[in-house]
């Protein structure tokens, strides 16, 4: 744009001329350029994104009239007191965090060797094929994937049928939290593999060679060189797997059994059925608070360099 201005300094008339002068003015004033560039996204962020969160925060401190279910705009901590004093809600929060942690650890353990193979061992062609294999499920509908797991887990489904043929006996996983756990691990695995791969690929081969030259055995090198260097990638992936598990309610609804009440399900029933938006908002604060703590920890581990 600046070039245009310089080349045609005289044609300052008409439409093109106006644009030339505007671009010239902007070129001379970097702050104006920055303002123009940032105002739309910032306005969107503040008005739509932050405002919604603030409304959520405020609503959490209101109540509904138990008789009419109208929202009463009276400030109190009743909703939070209910959440923390009722053992059922406490165990639901613990169950949700436990599930998120279990899924995260499992995905990290599965993803690490996979990503290592992709980054260091596989040929270029194999690597591409593996990438496609990892990313392709993301193109399929979430519901289609969960329902296909339902068919695997069901009574006399693929899993029990295969185990039965193999003489192991049936496990009958459908409608258990094991089923929920397996489906979560499957669903969020790509979100772990990708950042771990990125982290591993960036490690220079010379560092591993150096470790071995200095007498580090395979496991020692993995533990002292590879893992610390890949850790930011693992933590970055864990942000996804952890937060996605924390907020999901559809998988527990579909493959979960009688004790598949997670934070998301409580929010869903309180908004969708009970019309108790303030309580749902208070419940929604819990995963937000957990994620805030988690992200602070992740930042300390350098995860944000990998996203």
């Amino acid at each position: 744009m600046a070039v245009t201005t310089a080349a045609e300094p005289a044609t300052g008339t008409g439409r093109e001329g106006v644009w030339s002068r505007v671009s010239a003015a902007l070129w001379r004033r970097p702050w104006a350029r920055a303002t123009l560039l940032l105002t739309p996204p910032l306005a969107w962020f503040v008005l739509i994104y932050l405002a919604a969160l603030v409304v959520l925060l405020i609503t959490a401190f209101w109540q509904i009239n138990p008789f009419t279910t109208n929202i009463e705009r009276v400030w109190s901590l009743t909703n939070f007191q209910t959440i923390f004093s009722n053992p059922a809600y406490r165990s639901i929060i613990l169950r949700t965090v436990g599930m998120a942690a279990a899924v995260t650890v499992t995905d990290a353990i599965v993803a690490f060797p996979f990503a290592y193979y992709m980054a260091r061992i596989a040929s270029r062609r194999t690597r591409t094929a593996l990438f496609v294999a990892i990313l392709l499920p993301l193109w399929a509908s979430y519901l289609a994937k969960v329902y296909s797991w339902l068919l695997i887990f069901t009574h006399n489904g693929l899993l029990d049928w295969t185990l039965g043929k193999a003489g192991v006996g049936q496990v009958h996983l459908i409608y258990t939290n094991w089923a929920v756990y397996i489906v979560f691990c499957y669903l969020w695995l790509p979100f772990m593999v990708t950042p771990v791969y990125a982290a591993l690929e960036r490690i220079p081969p010379s560092q591993i060679e150096a470790s071995q030259d200095l007498g580090g055995r395979t496991w020692y090198t993995v533990r002292r060189v590879l893992l610390p260097l890949a850790l930011p990638g693992i933590v970055a992936g864990s942000i996804f797997t952890f937060s996605l598990t924390l907020g999901d309610y559809i998988t527990p609804l579909l493959v979960g059994g009688t004790s598949a009440n997670f934070i998301g399900n409580i929010i869903y029933t309180n908004i969708g059925i009970a019309n108790n938006v303030p309580f749902a908002a208070a419940m929604a604060m819990i995963p937000i608070a957990i994620m805030a703590v988690y992200l602070l920890g992740a930042r300390a581990l350098g995860a944000f360099e990998e996203i």
Binding site: F67, T69, L150, H155, G257, T258, N261, I273, A274
Partner: protein, 408 residues
């Protein structure tokens, strides 16, 4: 399918929302907290009057206005019966599908209420619309087929107040006991089977706080000492007894189903052999030749009932009356009943249903005597004020939290 889902999600919702109906009522009662209302019109409505009750009704159905704006449940405006209506009357039907009773209530208020002519709301939302002044009195004499309705649906308390009609009843359905006939050669006669430890891990019931009413209905017969008279009006001890019963049932449950399709899946795959569901699931399973049996056990069952309500400011009243005349005829009633899987209110619909689908009249109880109807406790919203006017009953919000924290 869609219709299904709306049933599933809207019922509980609508229940809550009709709770908000109570808000209207509460506003009416004010802080005076009148106990011992005199008019036996239903829970919490004591001392309240319908703001539109005095409006003059139409005396003669005139020429149609050419348009008819309807708010309906998905599946209630199928071309099968809407097309012939349009051809006969020249009234073009403009349907707005609502997903919840709440949406229906707010749509009826939209733009001051002058936009829509009618709504196909359920028994738990009707009173809310009525007492908010959004419904118009209906001259039932202008609807010939009304006289062929089962008596219970001619002037039901959810759409007729003090003898004034605010719409014409539509269809209804029970929540039935479903069982796999391979495991139950003879039909169970009591709901006790779904509380029987013998069937551990083989039972499926709806994931819905209104299930507490099903437990209360069971206790009404089996624990008379609790003194339950209405499964939707429970005092604290009665409520706790029902919740405890459901808590002991929990280990037997294979799945609390959220979608009707889940229940069909579970029966088909053998995850469940026994459960509570709707006639729709039964008809779907029967259609695929699955050995499914269905019964309303001796304790009775819960159920729902819908009404076409006339809007207070309906812009096309003549077409609205033509619609009420049409949709209450045996043929239209039969077509909707068979398509959707519910029970028509017109007793002449039965033979036509059998023409449309063999055996469907029996399947959906369209020929059922009054004895069957009396066993069905139609859904209404639990509110704090009991029928006797005392504020001793457990409101629906508590039903939801009990369902989430004590049952599940």
């Amino acid at each position: 399918m869609i219709a299904l889902h709306r049933r599933r999600f809207s019922r509980p919702l609508s229940a809550v929302l009709a709770l908000t109906a109570a808000s209207v009522i509460a506003a009416g009662c004010g802080s005076s907290s009148t106990t011992g209302g005199t008019t036996p019109q239903g829970p919490g409505t004591a001392g309240l009057s319908v703001p539109t009750a005095h409006l003059p009704v139409l005396q003669k159905v005139g020429k149609g206005e050419g348009q008819l704006n309807l708010i309906a449940w998905a599946g209630y405006l199928e071309p099968l019966w809407v097309k012939p209506f349009e051809q006969q009357t020249g009234c073009q039907v403009n349907g707005k599908i609502a997903n919840t009773s709440d949406e229906m209530v707010s749509l009826m208020k939209n733009g001051g209420g002058g936009q829509y002519d009618m709504v196909s709301s359920s028994g738990d939302a009707d009173l809310r619309i009525l007492y908010a002044g959004d419904a118009h009195p209906v001259n039932i004499n202008l609807i010939p087929s009304w006289k062929d309705f089962f008596p219970a649906f001619k002037s039901p308390p959810f759409n007729t107040i003090n003898g004034v009609h605010y719409g014409v009843s539509l269809q209804w359905g029970p929540n039935v006991l479903m069982y796999n006939t391979k495991h139950f050669p003879t039909a169970p006669t009591s709901w006790s089977v779904i509380y029987d430890p013998k069937y551990k891990g083989q039972v499926t019931v709806p994931d819905n706080p209104i299930q507490i009413a099903d437990a209360a209905l069971y206790l009404q017969k089996h624990k008379p000492s609790l003194g339950i008279t209405d499964p939707y009006e429970l005092t604290q001890p009665q409520f706790q007894a029902a919740v405890s019963l459901l808590a002991t049932q929990r280990p037997l449950i294979e799945k609390y189903w959220s979608l009707a399709s889940q229940e069909i899946f579970d029966f088909k795959n053998g995850n469940a052999i026994l459960g509570a569901g709707w006639p729709y699931q039964v008809s779907q399973l029967k259609a695929s030749h699955f050995p499914i049996g269905t019964t309303v056990p001796s304790e009775g069952a819960t159920g729902w009932a819908d009404t076409w309500m006339l809007a207070a400011k309906a812009p096309h009243p003549n077409c609205a009356y033509k619609w009420m005349q049409y949709i209450s005829t045996p043929k239209a009633q039969a077509e909707q009943a068979v398509t959707y899987g519910e029970t028509p209110d017109n007793k002449l619909a039965c033979p036509i249903m059998n023409q449309l689908q063999k055996g469907s009249c029996d399947l959906y109880h369209a020929n059922a005597p009054i004895a069957y109807f009396n066993t069905i406790k139609l859904w209404k919203t639990p509110i704090a004020t009991c029928d006797n006017g005392k504020p001793e009953c457990v409101p629906y919000a508590d039903w939801v939290s009990a369902w989430n924290t004590q049952v599940k």
